[in-house]
């Protein structure tokens, strides 16, 4: 950075200050060029007045649960969102909810040009926090608890209100820090951001945090090893379902409409031309000598298209099986297929039951135009001496199976994605003051942000 002409004020270049603790004599470095209000001696835990040249002792605390070691050592520098920051302070805080004590860590970061910033960490979940410059507007239940907060045009949902205690402090703080001090903390979330208000006596401070993955913090501060794995779902952790669920369903609906239109189009275009309609009689005795026969020749016109063969037989607790061959008289090309028509019904302890149908239909795809006939070889239930059956052939019928497959192929990922988003939001909100109780409750709070 160019300094240009010497400053008119002639003040010397600010330097980090090296001092000694008035209690135990240990070396203390003031890294924030006078921005700190208090500094905590790393060896004897005396909280000192950083504004006082003699570092007057303000408080002495015993680390109740032993020494807490910051994961990012004081004095470490890192690049956060393009700006260099130095870790100058560290505190551990705790909150008691339903008899369980939760601990989290906060780091004070400093840059002489950009000022103070914070990092917080709870079970491997990190947040990059700065003080709000604009006042959020809170909507509450009349005379009651807060519901939402509006900040810079975005709505944050109330997540949790709790008392936060300061358990352990180290290094410099730009405010008067004391161990044992209780603050009323209220969090509002709009993943990946969290809006927090911290009330201490009559002073309310608002801050805005953005979720960071441990890996990003480790990269920013070039820390050795791997960050501790994040446990559970954190209040403002971005959902792994990156695509907006509503968007997926809108796309799905659009495809479904498109498919329906396609189906309607093919249905209308299909000629469904009847080319054969005959009733035959099956006789066990005759079929012994002459098992198969051929139908009259019929013409299949137009472009290569589908041929539908329908079979009807008035079977009742019987079956008939027809070996079909669709044969092109001109080329000899044949399509072989067998169809069974069977129908069973009766009564048992569960009531009446039935199985099968007296109708059968099959579609042969892509049959070229030409002169065709069917060769039919019937077989039947040994108990059946004879039965009439009807064979109907239509040229160019629409086929819808492919559309059903396409529909399912689109539906399945949409459902899976919705379920994943739903369970993630469920885990998030089950940790809040507003645990999900019903599907309706969740639906209104599922992860469709933006």
């Amino acid at each position: 950075m160019s300094t240009g002409a010497p400053p008119l004020s002639g003040t010397p270049k600010p330097q980090a200050k090296a001092l000694n603790c008035p209690k135990c004599g240990a070396a203390i470095t003031l890294r924030s060029f006078g921005q700190a209000e208090t500094v905590v001696c790393g060896s004897c835990h005396a909280i000192l007045d950083a504004k006082d040249p003699n570092l007057a002792i303000l408080q002495q605390f015993e680390a109740a649960t032993g020494e807490v070691k910051p994961q990012i050592p004081l004095g470490t520098r890192g690049k956060l969102r393009g700006t260099d920051y130095e870790v100058i302070g560290f505190q551990r805080r705790s909150s008691k909810v339903d008899g369980i004590t939760y601990y989290w860590q906060e780091y004070v970061l400093f840059n002489p040009y950009k000022g103070i910033r914070y990092l917080s960490e709870y079970r491997g979940h990190w947040n990059d926090i700065s003080v709000c410059k604009t006042l959020p507007a809170v909507d509450s239940i009349p005379g009651g608890s807060p519901l939402t907060a509006n900040y810079l045009g975005e709505t944050y949902k109330h997540f949790q209100s709790a008392e936060a205690n300061t358990d352990f402090v180290l290094g410099e703080f730009p405010w008067q820090v004391r161990v044992g001090e209780m603050a009323e903390v209220t969090d509002f979330v709009h993943p990946p951001r969290v809006l927090s208000s911290e009330k201490l006596q009559n002073e309310v401070t608002w801050s805005i945090g953005e979720y960071m993955f441990g890996r990003e913090v480790w990269d920013a501060f070039k820390l050795p090893g791997a960050p501790p794995e994040a446990m559970g779902v954190y209040e403002n952790q971005p959902s792994p379902v990156v695509t907006k669920v509503t968007g997926v369903w809108v796309a799905f609906a659009a495809f479904a409409v498109f498919l329906l239109a396609l189906m309607a189009g093919f249905e209308m275009r299909a000629k469904k031309e009847p080319v054969l309609h005959e009733t035959y009689q099956y006789n066990r005795a005759e079929s012994k000598s002459e098992p198969s026969f051929v139908t009259d020749v019929f013409e299949l016109s137009g472009h290569p298209s589908t041929v539908e063969v329908k079979t009807y037989a008035p079977v009742s607790n019987q079956w008939i099986y027809l070996n079909y061959a669709l044969i092109n008289q001109d080329t000899g090309q044949a399509w072989n297929f067998g169809r069974e028509v069977s129908y069973y019904s009766g009564y048992d302890s569960d009531g009446s039951w039935s199985e099968g149908k007296q109708n059968d239909a099959v579609v042969v795809p892509s049959v070229p135009p030409g002169h065709y006939y069917l060769r039919i070889e019937p077989e039947a239930d040994p108990a059946l001496p004879g039965i009439p059956y009807t064979v109907e052939v239509h040229r160019d019928v629409p086929v819808f199976g492919i559309y059903v497959i396409a529909f399912l192929a689109l539906l399945v990922p949409a459902v899976i994605m919705s379920l994943r988003a739903y369970t993630f939001e469920w885990s998030r909100w089950s940790e809040s003051d507003h645990p999900p109780m019903s599907v309706a409750n969740l639906a209104s709070s599922s992860g469709d942000d933006e």
Binding site: P14, K51, D84, P112, Y113, V131, A137
Partner: protein, 211 residues
Amino acid sequence: MTQPIANCPNCGAKIVFRWSSSVQTVCQFCKSILVRTDVDLKKVGQVADLPPDNSPLQVNTQGQYGHQAFVVVGRILYEYDQGGWNEWHVMMNDGTSAWLSDAQSEYALSRSSKSQNLPTLAMVHVGQQFTWSNQRYTVSVITAAHYRGVEGELPFQYWDKTDVTFVDLRTESGKFATLDYSDPEPALYLGEFVEFDDLKLKNLRSFEGWG
């Protein structure tokens, strides 16, 4: 722009006014407080050296506010029971002046506003709302401060004042207002919070160990 030039009546050093409307300046060599009269500069007092502070700005720092370039020509350093802050007097390239306040790296740029019927100090309390220029402002804090020192050019005589009360007001949209009760008539300044990066500041101070 013509820059009026004169000599310090105390030490004879050259005094250059970068802003033609400056009323007061401090001689950078002998720290005499100089007030402009019609014909000459008059020494009205002397300032002690300013205490070391941590603002990255200094007199001659250049920056940009919207499409306007500005240069820092002076400052007032205030102190209150929880610390201090700087009000940097900046000259915009259209010849007007504004204030860039720097309180613990929170920057706000404001200009004098000619609103009438300003409340007396006794009438103001935290949480109260006022509307100026169609903006609703809420009183956020009332600060009793005293001024710790001055430097460079200022648009008014500010050398004989000691205590001053400020009423800060904010909006939900990042706007900012200050009521200044240093004179019998309150003065209103309207402005907004600005981002350090948006000011594109040049000629900043350097800090040991920070490039």
